[in-house]
């Protein structure tokens, strides 16, 4: 399907990167340079939230740019002009950075999988037993839902993400599943916990919980 109504810059990128372009090598160098710049900026923006650091972080950025470049060239025919070409292309490198940070997390993880640090749950949920009279009841109900209403897989995901604070992308990488699969488990767990807390009078109103 031909791409129509493109802005001038996007048209130029497609023209330069086309297979029969004499300017293709230069265009690939130009695009790669942009991807490297963006990847480096992105890993530095996220560095306070990842155990990956130092030269490994820069290496990760260069790898992300290289892999994004390959994906962009392989999928050039998929570009439909729904956005500017550069926005479409930069999406690849941003997602590569996310995926690689998730996988690299396990090289030096601050928390092991299945650590089950339940003592941290009050802080994770912002509950202080000294300030919230019902905190103990809320925490017990959360624990009951996790133990009794979640499947073993759902329970493992919930404990890793919510109790142990493992980054969602890191858990997805470790389990070999997509980010969406982990998100959906947490989404459903939140609905179940909300229903249980409302049924026991800890929440004044159920709110929106249908999906």
């Amino acid at each position: 399907m031909p791409v129509q109504n493109l802005d001038e810059e996007s048209s130029a990128w497609l023209r330069r990167l086309s297979a029969d372009s004499r300017d293709r090598a230069a265009a690939e160098r130009d695009l790669h340079a942009k991807l490297v710049r963006i990847a480096l900026a992105e890993v530095r923006r996220r560095q306070s939230r990842t155990p990956v650091a130092g030269p490994e972080l820069d290496d990760l950025a260069y790898q992300a740019a290289a892999d994004a470049m390959l994906a962009i060239l392989a999928k050039l025919g998929d570009f439909r002009g729904e956005s500017r070409f550069t926005t479409w292309a930069y999406r690849f490198v941003i997602l590569e950075v996310s995926g690689k940070l998730g996988r690299h997390y396990w090289r030096n993880p601050p928390v092991a999988l299945d650590a089950a640090q339940w003592e941290r749950l009050p802080d994770r949920l912002g509950l202080d037993p000294e300030r919230h009279a019902e905190a103990a009841g809320i925490l017990a109900e959360v624990r009951r839902v996790v133990d009794e209403e979640l499947t073993s897989h759902q329970r493992r995901v919930f404990i890793a993400i919510v109790v142990d604070g493992i980054p969602l992308d890191a858990l997805a990488a470790e389990l070999g599943v997509r980010r969406n699969a982990v998100y959906k488990v947490i989404f459903d767990a939140r609905r179940k916990i909300r229903r249980a807390l409302a049924a026991n009078g800890y929440l004044a109103e159920p709110g929106r919980e249908q999906r």
Partner: protein
Amino acid sequence: MSESRKLEEFLRTDPRDVGCDDALAVLHVYVDLVAAGQDAAGRYPGIAAHLAACGPCGEDFTGLLLAVTGA
């Protein structure tokens, strides 16, 4: 009701939330609308709901927006 705001935010789910796969599939379109000052959330309420709730997708949105705006 004495639960904390953090707990309330954690438990809040939006039925319009489209999930990660659908949000990431059009992230470039959504970001271009935001960068152009258009009503991206109005046009894609399910994407907006998801980006507000999902930390990793929200990070990707912020990173891509910064990349295209050069900020």
